[in-house]
């Protein structure tokens, strides 16, 4: 039991990389302003997801809906390490990534409800959403496919020598897909500027990492390709940002790809129809009580007296207002016109 691989509490820890690889950096020193920003950004994701869960229950959102609650620190910290033009791509648990990319909550929520005001005009849904303007490249429903695609986005950066980096997110589950390793190989072979952010939330649907993965230290998954990796406390937004800055700098300096093993946790089920039989309620409760990324920020802020309880509540209230507005829009915005059925299948070639 001493070596319980999958229940490591915090991972602010060792570098598990090859000799030449970087070590896990110390959490970034946050100013008051940065703490409050991060608090607000993470709250936005959480309240948005809670609302999405409600709307799903009410029948406004159909199909699959994968909530990001618990993992907010990962995208919030990583986004802070990006510069203009950097791309983001992920799989289907993507609402948090889109909000972090500064996509409009209204447009995201309206896509969840399948309305014309959604980012894909209602034709993509929860799992397939994009924003060229915000450099968000989806939103992909096939586990692992986004890893090759993200590597291709990085290929573009290298080809154009634009100094940009692609954040390619995937989970512990996707980490066992073959194309992930095909992509690793080429990314290192050609030194592509791609940060592989493995959101290790410990469960691939309902299969715990130790039941699915022969090697559960995902930071070492790049060893065969000489891609370094570091383990990061994905429940601490400061640790994530520090790792994100290190990783993006690594890529921008021409050293090629790098892996970040984000130790995180999802509170909700895999999707809305999760049986919750594969883990105990106690485990979830313990994580929420001890590791919650938003509570950790709030505690620090309160301890340093950077804000009062009331001031934090005011942030929450503002965020709830924005989310309520998005939900209202998503419920009242019309469905796409029937003529949309046949648009966007192919780009018309000039006659």
């Amino acid at each position: 039991m001493a070596k319980a691989k999958t229940t490591k509490k915090s991972a602010a820890s060792k570098s598990t990389t090859s000799k030449a690889g970087p070590k896990t950096p110390a959490p970034k020193d946050y100013t008051k302003q940065r703490e409050l920003e991060a608090c607000r950004d993470m709250l936005m994701i959480r309240r948005f997801e809670e609302k999405a869960g409600q709307l799903y229950g009410m029948g406004f959102i159909g199909g699959f809906c994968h909530l990001y609650i618990g993992q907010e620190a990962v995208v919030t910290g990583m986004q802070a390490a990006l510069i203009e033009g950097d791309q983001v791509i992920t799989a289907y648990r993507d609402h948090g990534h889109m909000l972090a990319c500064d996509m409009d909550p209204k447009g995201v929520m309206a896509e969840l409800t399948g309305r014309e005001g959604g980012y894909s005009r209602g034709k993509g849904g929860s799992m397939h959403m994009f924003s060229k303007e915000k450099n968000f490249y989806g939103g992909h429903g096939i586990v692992g496919a986004q890893v090759s695609l993200g590597t291709g986005l990085a290929f573009n950066n290298r080809y154009r020598e634009n100094g940009n980096v692609c954040l390619t997110y995937f989970g512990d589950g996707a980490s066992n897909q073959g194309q992930v390793y095909e992509s690793f190989n080429m990314a290192k072979l050609w030194d592509l500027p791609v940060v592989y952010v493995i959101e290790n939330n410990r469960y691939a649907m309902g299969t715990a990492v130790h039941r699915s993965s022969a090697l559960t230290e995902f930071s070492r998954r790049g060893c065969s390709f000489n891609i370094p990796g570091i383990e990061v406390d994905g429940m601490d937004v400061r640790a994530v940002q520090a790792a994100g800055e290190l990783a993006t700098e690594w890529c921008r300096s021409g050293k090629g790809p790098i892996i970040l093993d984000m130790q995180t946790y999802r509170y909700r089920g895999h999707s809305m129809s999760d049986p919750a039989k594969y883990r105990t309620k106690d485990e979830v409760q313990k994580m929420r009580a001890e590791q919650d990324p938003i509570e950790r920020v709030k505690q620090r802020v309160l301890e340093k007296k950077w804000a009062t309880e009331d001031e934090l509540k005011a942030i929450d209230k503002e965020v709830r207002g924005i989310v309520a507005e998005a939900a209202e829009f998503a419920q009242t915005n019309p469905e796409p016109d029937a003529s949309e059925l046949y648009t966007d299948v192919l780009i018309e070639v000039g006659a």
């Binding site: 791309q87 791509i89 959604g118 980012y119 894909s120 005009r121 209602g122 034709k123 993509g124 397939h128 959403m129 994009f130 924003s131 060229k132 490249y137 989806g138 939103g139 992909h140 429903g141 096939i142 496919a145 890893v147 090759s148 695609l149 993200g150 590597t151 291709g152 986005l153 990085a154 290929f155 573009n156 950066n157 080809y159 073959g178 194309q179 095909e182 992509s183 190989n185 080429m186 072979l189 648009t343 966007d344 299948v345 192919l346 780009i347 070639v349």
Partner: protein
């Protein structure tokens, strides 16, 4: 007695090659394993070894001779005591295809197969196959035509587009230093450099996905699959990522990418290397599927495909690569995707095919003419979007239709055409639409079985007789 040394085959589809160099001369003694000659095709170079010992009695084909047919006698070995005259008198017979004489020279290649094509001793320069562009208004009257192989036409199309657009690059297995597994990318590395002509590892799923990602960011990749058989490893990225992203993003981002490579049966490469994917990809909204027959179409349509902002499946055919056709000598010869070509006009029955299938249709039409059946041949050129208007118009004239394809029958291209004719021109039909397809079996290896598995001219003629009641 003298034993003949025959021109060996370098690949399953090789029909002829250049005898580049003799390393022995008449009168030289050779032992088994000695390299005696070098042979080249546009695709590869190889050494010819003696498999028996003896004396080179006669060299029948001088070095530097081009277009030497596979199985043609290139020299003869004589045993000790035999005179060179005996060798000289050896008949230069046309060897039988299936029962080729013992090949006395072994090819030093991985897959030296017995050529299935009867070889004439030495051929003149290949005459281009005549393709009358009956419905191709895009080639102005009086345009100069240059005899070009499909292989060179494809290469020229890529090179021209790469010269015009920095965002176009080509990636795939062996496309750069090896110069292309089928030599389609020959010379591109020299001209465009390693940044734009990229050798990938053997990792179809991965590099297809990387190509799509690069395309989503605005680059215009040409992804070569060594054959489309291997693209099944990548089909998720082609279908789920390349074809659907434009729709799923509400038109925000698509994938301007060309997936190209040889498709369908080559010759004697068995079940896993001999499959036609035209019907598979044509099933998918969001893809365009192009399958040219002639070199001109290959060039004009590949250029169009590279410029097209949508994902294109470009199905080539290994057997056609080495065949020469007239290609218009125009600076910028681009053909429209989605338009069929009437290869030959006729009144009695419409033959609809694409890619290598057109070859069967042409030969069948010639055979039909002898029976007094005047066939119209439609080369679809594009499978999706399919130019059914041209087919329907033809059927309204001929009242009969036969589809020809190498793919499997069920849910095939012919099935789709038949259905559409039923919907659009039922009252014009004087006979059921018939399909001539590859048989409903995995491709066998044995030469006789393979021949049976593929469509044949006889089957097409038989179908034509059935629908014309002759």
């Amino acid at each position: 007695m003298a034993t003949d040394i025959l021109m060996p085959a370098l690949s399953p589809t090789m029909e002829e090659g250049t005898l580049a160099k003799w390393l022995v001369k008449e009168g030289d003694a050779v032992a088994a394993g000695d390299v005696i000659a070098e042979i080249e095709t546009d695709k590869a170079t190889m050494e010819v070894e003696a498999v028996d010992e003896g004396t080179v009695g006669r060299i029948a084909v001088a070095e530097g001779t081009e277009n030497v047919k596979v199985n043609a006698v290139i020299a003869a070995l004589i045993e000790d005591g035999e005179s060179a005259d005996a060798a000289a008198a050896a008949p230069v017979a046309e060897p039988e295809a299936a029962a080729a004489p013992v090949v006395e020279a072994a090819a030093v290649v991985e897959a030296a197969a017995v050529a299935t094509v009867p070889a004439a001793p030495v051929a003149a320069a290949p005459t281009p196959i005549e393709v009358k562009p009956a419905s191709d208004p895009d080639i102005p009257e009086g345009t100069e035509m240059v005899s070009t192989t499909v292989r060179d036409a494809l290469r020229d199309a890529m090179a021209e587009e790469m010269r015009h657009d920095e965002d176009v690059f080509v990636m795939g297995e062996e496309v750069a230093e090896y110069q292309g597994a089928y030599k389609i990318t020959q010379g591109l590395l020299d001209e465009f450099g390693a940044k734009r002509v990229i050798d990938t590892p053997i990792t179809e799923h991965g590099f297809a996905g990387i190509g799509v990602g690069a395309a989503m960011a605005g680059l215009k990749p040409i992804v070569e699959f060594m054959t489309f058989n291997f693209a099944m490893q990548a089909i998720d990225q082609i279908v789920n990522s390349a074809a659907k992203t434009l729709y799923m993003s509400g038109g925000q981002m698509g994938a301007p990418i060309v997936f190209r490579g040889p498709n369908g049966a080559a010759a004697r490469v068995g079940a896993q290397h001999s499959q036609c994917y035209a019907a598979w990809y044509s099933h998918i909204p969001g893809l365009k599927v192009v399958a040219p027959y002639s070199a001109a179409d290959a060039k004009g349509l590949l250029k169009a495909a590279i410029r097209d902002p949508n994902p294109i499946i470009f199905l080539e055919n290994e057997i056609l690569y080495g065949q020469s056709f007239d290609v218009p000598a125009l600076d910028d010869f681009v053909l429209p995707i989605g338009k069929a070509r009437i290869h030959k006009s006729g009144n009695d029955v419409t033959l609809v095919s694409f890619g290598h299938g057109v070859r069967y249709a042409i030969d069948a039409a010639a055979a039909m003419a002898e029976l007094g059946i005047d066939a119209e041949i439609i080369d679809l050129r594009t499978i999706r979007p399919m130019d059914m208007a041209t087919v329907i118009e033809s059927v309204k004239k001929t009242n009969r239709c036969i589809t020809v394809e190498e793919g499997f029958p069920q849910s095939g291209v012919g099935a789709e055409i038949g259905m559409q004719i039923m919907q659009e021109a039922f009252d014009y039909l004087d006979a059921p639409v018939l399909r001539v397809t590859g048989k409903d079996v995995p491709m066998p290896y044995a030469a006789n079985l393979e021949k049976l598995a593929l469509p044949s001219v006889e089957e097409i003629v038989e179908a034509a007789r059935a629908v014309t009641y002759k």
